[in-house]
């Protein structure tokens, strides 16, 4: 099929962009992996689960309903359950290659004049002894199964790590009947004081979470970290300890908390695979964009977490600006930024806010000291920290690629998405863009056919032959 604009990802950024562009006459195809739009942030319980009362706070719900109803009323073509594995540049624009789910075997291609990457992010988790035990999940993962499947992993949970996501996860689990034995945040609350002017806008929200934590009697431990998870075949307890001002564990402060669930996260990472394969410039971990949300590859825009972690409200502002920019540029005109002045102001304010959050909510500075040599670091290939250290100290590896070649860390199913930051930290190397050619596993038959010259001329959706 052919479209003016292909938007990849139907979270806040992708939805805002699709609606802004479509309202200005652009033919938009919105390609998303989930069965329903919303992304991770607006994830809804499956319809068959018959939820009659929404979970989200009022203002979030109103925004979601506006986006959902806007999408339904628009001319945007929404391809749900389509898993994009590559976006390719060709003579006439771009070819988006996707696999139709849930088995992800049927190839679908969309040809577009422009592409907008709104691929979101995923959670970063740094390793510690015992983190591979069943019962240890990412904070976002616990939230996803609760929001979408109304499922909880156990009876007693510890929520730990750092960052703003921990608060809704702890209160969400508590509201669903899980006893939250502790919320363990490694950041020092005094750090927040320094950034108070930037963070002031979030204070009412933070106060709301504080009240809910109090109501559910959740002990909130700041300046603490989980140093180990224990159990035989599944999680039975965690050890937490206090951190000193330098980010080292204070001797003699360790204590054990029995629990069957640990929901843990150390911040978020942007999904940049599609952008990297297109050759877009990456700054640090983020896709680089200009004031109009354009990447440095002509015809490719990006918005939301993929351009830098900043939350749903920022993603909405960026998506809106991107959609309007696409609409103008596809007509061959330069957009007038004054037309999106309000979105521009929120974007500036929210970027500043999240820069402050980022400064305060960093993992403990010396987290690698808690990672014993026998701790598995690469979960897929079961590579231990000792092997990574040996690669650097004994075998002379000086960069991540060499560490990977010597240890297999990052060569497994997830392609280093999970262990990347951990291996970089342990090896003392700078994190480098992974440059994965494909964003997800692709059946070989699909790959072979995608290279067929007639494929680009297919006018309609392809099914399996």
């Amino acid at each position: 099929m052919r479209t003016d604009l292909a938007v990849i990802g139907a979270g806040p950024a992708g939805l805002a962009a699709s609606l802004a562009a479509s309202a200005r006459g652009v033919r938009v195809t919105l390609v998303d992996a989930a069965e329903t739009a919303g992304g991770q942030f607006y994830r809804q319980p499956a319809v068959a689960l018959g939820a009659r009362r929404p979970r989200a706070p009022h203002h979030q719900r109103r925004t979601w309903e506006r986006l959902r109803d806007g999408l339904a009323a628009s001319s945007v073509r929404h391809l749900a359950d389509h898993h994009v594995w590559c976006v390719e540049r060709d003579r006439t624009g771009f070819t988006v290659h996707a696999l139709r789910g849930p088995l992800q075997e049927e190839p679908v291609t969309v040809h577009a004049d422009a592409v907008l990457l709104a691929t979101g992010g995923y959670e970063k988790v740094l390793p510690f002894p015992g983190w591979t035990l069943p019962g240890v999940v990412t904070a976002g993962g616990a939230q996803a199964l609760l929001k979408g499947g109304l499922a909880v992993p156990g009876r007693t949970a510890v929520v730990a790590g750092t960052g703003p996501l921990l608060l809704p996860v702890a209160t969400g689990l508590a509201a669903a009947g899980v006893e939250v034995a502790a919320l363990v945040e490694s950041a020092d609350p005094r750090g927040f004081v320094r950034y108070l002017p930037s963070l002031a806008a979030k204070l009412p929200e933070a106060a709301g979470y504080a009240a809910r934590l109090l109501r559910h009697r959740v002990p909130f431990m700041t300046g603490h970290t989980v140093v180990a998870a224990h159990g035989d075949g599944r999680l039975e307890a965690v050890t937490v300890a206090a951190l000193d001002s330098g980010g080292r564990v204070r001797p003699g402060t360790a204590r054990r908390i029995p629990c069957d669930t640990l929901a843990v996260g150390h911040g978020m990472l942007p999904h940049t695979d599609l952008a990297e394969a297109l050759g877009c410039r990456i700054d640090g971990a983020d896709v680089h964009v200009d004031d109009e949300q354009r990447t440095d590859v002509p015809g490719v825009w990006a918005a939301g977490e993929t351009t830098g972690i900043g939350g749903a409200a920022l993603a909405l502002a960026e998506g809106h600006i991107a959609g309007r920019s696409v609409a103008a540029r596809l007509r061959g005109t330069a957009p007038d930024p004054r037309a999106w002045a309000a979105a521009d102001r929120s974007r500036a304010r929210l970027r500043e806010l999240f820069a402050a959050v980022d400064s305060v909510c960093a993992p403990p500075a010396h987290w690698t000291e808690q990672v014993t040599d026998d701790t598995v670091v690469c979960r897929c290939e079961e590579v231990r920290a000792g092997a990574v250290r040996e690669a650097v100290q004994e075998l002379g590896a000086g960069d991540l690629r060499t560490v990977k070649l010597l240890t297999r860390a990052g060569m497994g199913w997830c392609q280093g998405r999970v262990c990347g930051p951990a291996v970089a930290g342990l090896a003392g190397c700078d994190p480098a863009p992974a440059r994965r050619p494909f964003a997800r596993p692709v059946p070989l038959g699909v790959l072979a056919r995608a290279g067929h010259p007639t494929d680009a001329d297919q006018p309609t959706e392809e099914g399996p032959s």
Binding site: E35, Y122, P134
Partner: protein, 99 residues
């Protein structure tokens, strides 16, 4: 309290699936992972190298820790795959191709 209560969920009728031959109840709309969690199961795979148990980790399709064999097909992500009536779910040993 159950996680259904805060959202006052009234799900469509539950159906039966099997895990390694044992019958468990699942709710329509859940993923395989959500159904297994609800049944109190947290691991359904053993690793290729050391045979260690694994289940859900990232919950959003990124980490591939929750791989499972469903209806004879190995290496499916339990966190993404919708559960269907009568599904035969099996604990996946290693690559899932050695059974």
């Amino acid at each position: 309290m159950s996680p259904l209560e805060p959202v006052r969920a009234e799900p469509d009728p539950a159906f039966t699936v099997t895990l390694d031959g044992r019958e468990i109840e699942a709710l329509p709309g859940q993923t395989v992972a959500a159904a297994l969690w609800t049944a109190g199961v947290v691991s359904w795979r053993t690793t290729r190298g050391e045979g260690r148990p694994r289940g859900i980790f990232c919950g959003i399709g990124v980490c591939f820790d929750c791989l499972v064999t469903v209806n004879g097909r190995p290496n499916q992500r339990a966190c993404l795959l919708p559960v269907r009536p009568g599904d035969a779910i099996r604990t996946q040993e290693g690559t899932g191709h050695e059974d």
